[in-house]
Each structure stands twice: as structure tokens, then as C-alpha cells.
């Protein structure tokens, strides 16, 4: 596709349920990021992949959050035993190559439209 695709667009889960959010990055994009955006706030970094390697997961708020990108393309963010505080929009972004390897910054992040998760 032309852009980053996220599914589902909306997800309602009962507290305690597990959810899986999918991100299809732009084809060939090496870097993939997950962000969490609470209502009225800016996006908060969760985790970052370069190909299939998860290079940084320092933003994951608890061990209930798990992300994977097994073949270096599609990524899944899984949240186990969802809590109400997990309600947010989850944004995925990808970039062609790591910025700093290019040295020019000409590989911007492309964001998907997000998945809005509501935990009741």
C-alpha cells in the first residue's frame, strides 16, 4: 500500500481481555516505531524495531505489553490483561532507513492513522 496501515481502526475490549494490534509498514521500510497517545496528549514512545530486531523497548509501560516483528515487515503490539489506563490511540510509524546512517535526515517517519483502543 501507499502508506502505513493499522488494524483494527477501533477496538473495544473488556478489562482483562488480551488484544493484538497490527501494523503494516510501507514496503521496504527498515525502521518501525510504536507510540501510545492518550487523549489530549502527545504520542509517547513505546518501542522501536530495525528489521526484525527490537532495539529499544524502554517505553513499554509494563510486562503486559509485548511487540514483535518476526519477519521484519508486519508488526504486532499485544497487550495482555488490558486495564482501563491502556485506553489510548496506538500509533505505528515506519521509515525507509535509519536517519543517522544517511546523515541527511531524508528518511522521515511515516505514521499510520492509529488504532483507538477503549477498555471498558
Amino acid at each position: 500500500g501507499a502508506g502505513v496501515s493499522q488494524s483494527p481502526r477501533y477496538k473495544v475490549a473488556k478489562r482483562g481481555q488480551d488484544v493484538a494490534l497490527r501494523c503494516d509498514p510501507i514496503s521496504g521500510h527498515v525502521s518501525l516505531f510504536w507510540y501510545q497517545q492518550a487523549l489530549g496528549q502527545g504520542p509517547e514512545f513505546l518501542t522501536y524495531f530495525q528489521n526484525e530486531a527490537q532495539l529499544d523497548k524502554s517505553g513499554l509501560p509494563s510486562d503486559r505489553f509485548f511487540a514483535e516483528r518476526p519477519e521484519g515487515s508486519v508488526s504486532t503490539l499485544k497487550i495482555q490483561r488490558t486495564q482501563q489506563e491502556d485506553s489510548a490511540v496506538y500509533l505505528c510509524a515506519s521509515s525507509l532507513v535509519p536517519f543517522l546512517l544517511l546523515g541527511t535526515g531524508n528518511s522521515p517517519l511515516h505514521f499510520g492513522n492509529g488504532t483507538r483502543l477503549t477498555v471498558t
Partner: protein
């Protein structure tokens, strides 16, 4: 750790008026700075970025921003606002990450309201 402050939660301007959105950052090294725009229900779109060189950077949709190291600021400007500019604007600072990339840290955003 890096951080971004956007002191204005809401800004209201009349169509055709000039605009300045404020952004201050905290980062120990030379920063990579960005402005993104987000329309309701949409992802973030990059307006412009600063990596090095000329401190006045031009972006899309007629926006520009000026990097002022002495003030740790990267304010976004537009000389004449259009009604379609109404959106949420996010400033971000990029911190170096492993693997040669950077990780943007975002401010909380400024909501721009445009009156006809």
C-alpha cells in the same frame, strides 16, 4: 533525558492572520527537531525538520521554523493562516537510538483554532 515543552495548549487565530507556535526543548547534545501536524482521526504528518545547517527551515504548507540554540527553542511560524490549518501541532526532539536511528520525543501538542 530529552523533553519538549509546548506552553500553549490552545491557540486561536483569525484566518489570514500570522501564527507562531512555541516549542522549547531539553536535550544534552545537538538536537534533531521536528514539527508534525495531526488532523482529527489521522496520523501525524511531518511539516519540517532541523538537523543541521541553516537555522531557518522551510516546510510544507507554507510553514517555517527557526532553531535558536541560545533559547532552546524551535518555534513554528506561518505568515497567513488558512482555515484548513486548524489541527493539532506537535513539536518533537529526536534522540539518538541504537542502530543509527533516532527516537522522537513529542510535546503534548498545541491545538490551533482558526476563526473565519
Amino acid at each position: 533525558a530529552q523533553s519538549v515543552t509546548q506552553p500553549d495548549i490552545h491557540i486561536t487565530v483569525s484566518e489570514g492572520a500570522s501564527l507562531e507556535l512555541r516549542c522549547n526543548y531539553s536535550y544534552g547534545a545537538t538536537p534533531y527537531l521536528f514539527w508534525y501536524v495531526q488532523s482529527p482521526g489521522q496520523g501525524l504528518q511531518l511539516l519540517l525538520k532541523y538537523f543541521s545547517g541553516d537555522t531557518l527551515v522551510q516546510g510544507i504548507k507554507g510553514f517555517e521554523a527557526e532553531f535558536k540554540r541560545s533559547q532552546s527553542s524551535f518555534n513554528l511560524r506561518k505568515p497567513s493562516v488558512h482555515w484548513s490549518d486548524a489541527a493539532e501541532y506537535f513539536c518533537a526532539v529526536g534522540a539518538r537510538a541504537s542502530g543509527g536511528s533516532y527516537i522522537p520525543t513529542f510535546g503534548r501538542g498545541t491545538s490551533l483554532i482558526v476563526h473565519p
